[in-house]
Subunit: 228 residues, 2 copies
DNA sequence: AGCCTAATTTAGAATAGCCTAAAAATATTT
DNA sequence: AAATATTTTTAGGCTATTCTAAATTAGGCT
């Protein structure tokens, strides 16, 4: 579907994506307030939009009950995530952007309408499975490659693992990791554990050592063995 | 300038670009009707827009007199053309699009707001000077690399030249050239000239022969010697 | 100098998306 | 179950962009 009469606008796409992200966590339905918070807009605007948009069958909306996506809506959301993550991959791998700089640009690029573009981009990038933050990129059919991963927080003293992703994507956190030379693929080993505040002493790539707070370690996803 | 409060909207950018293109041909000013035709909108909408937009100082507007760009406007238009042509180059050279498919996609991509993006894209593409249709890509300072070129129509019988560009960019014309295996860089030689309708018999890359109509030959730009 | 036509502008209205303030419904506490 | 707090919706309004139809102006022709 390429540039049709009935294409969703960028704003509509943002709503669908927000609903998708919220319903992924909150089993099934998204509240008006949650959507408003996610899009930094008012609850009144959201109600307005939901009423109009629900006619397009991307989701079911019932007054005071919140919304949940239809298959059509879920498909659209998945394709948007696919586009977003492919563009992020492009920006980092090809244009040498840092992983903390790409979100806003990808947010714009994901709204470009052309199926052919995204399929060609995907081929050009050699069908990447994960974006620069380790998040899975759905394929053209919308399937995500699920990976077994645990939070660094759950790694015991003495255990080793490789970084495969991050939970939060905000710039300060990503820059902090850069500083520690922690990136996707970095090998980490838990040296010791401070029970008092749940922080951990970590050996980074058999090289440097750092103490990571509870908050930091829950935000880092690792995998115990590579290629599994 | 990156995503400011006072950024021009996509629509505003389209107006500036239209005015730029019209004033390039029609020494200096663009009429309301010309802008309307260029943007496929009504003259009334254009008047409306011009009145509001002229406050942003991209151009001078005087009732019933048409508009002409200020330096600020000309600079914006040039940057938009830069973005458009760089993206076209990317689409053809990296993603393997055909030269007749890229316009609409580039039209969307050019509105993405990020100075850093376009500079990194430029570096990644190795600072191309011409887009896939042979049109010059302005550099970051807005300077175009001007090339001496003539219309194929002005080539005399027996003369040889290399294709460097096309005047019209519409899909059927470009596909017609593809069919004839005429592209940027193709060597052409005028075999004979039919006085009756000004068509020409052409030898293409020392290979095939075709008759090109007057219309076709005026639409092809060539250069007599390469690298000059 | 006046008329005609084409170009341009004004007037009035529609739509998408947003807002604030007030009202209504739902959820939570007591 | 009543009272209170929270969430959601409605009402009314704003701006950007577009439209059609009507009015105005400019420029050319007699």
């Amino acid at each position: 579907m390429n540039q049709n009469y009935n294409m969703p606008t960028s704003t509509e796409e943002d709503y669908i994506k927000a609903i998708f992200k919220i319903t992924e966590r909150n089993q099934g339905t998204a509240s008006t307030n949650a959507v408003a918070a996610h899009l930094s807009t008012s609850a009144a605007s959201v109600t307005d939009m939901l009423k109009r948009l629900s006619e397009k069958e991307y989701f079911h909306y019932e007054k005071y009950k919140g919304v949940y996506l239809t298959n059509k809506g879920r498909e659209l959301a998945t394709q948007l995530i696919r586009k977003h993550r492919l563009w992020e991959y492009f920006l980092v791998e090809k244009l040498n952007f840092n992983w903390d700089e790409v979100h806003d640009i990808a947010e714009q690029l994901e709204h470009v309408k052309s199926d052919k573009l995204i399929e060609k981009l995907d081929s050009y990038l050699d069908h990447p499975k994960y974006d620069p933050h380790g998040d899975p990129i759905p394929n053209a059919e919308g399937k995500f490659t699920i990976r077994t991963q645990i939070s660094l927080f759950n790694l015991a003293v003495g255990e080793e693992a490789v970084v495969v992703g991050v939970k939060e994507h905000d710039t300060p956190f990503l820059q902090y990791l850069d500083q520690l030379k922690i990136n996707i693929g970095t090998k980490l080993k838990v040296i010791s554990q401070i029970d008092f505040d749940h922080s951990k002493e970590i050996l980074i790539d058999n090289n440097s050592q750092s103490v990571l707070s509870h908050k930091a370690s829950t935000n880092i996803y690792v995998k115990k063995r590579m290629f599994s």
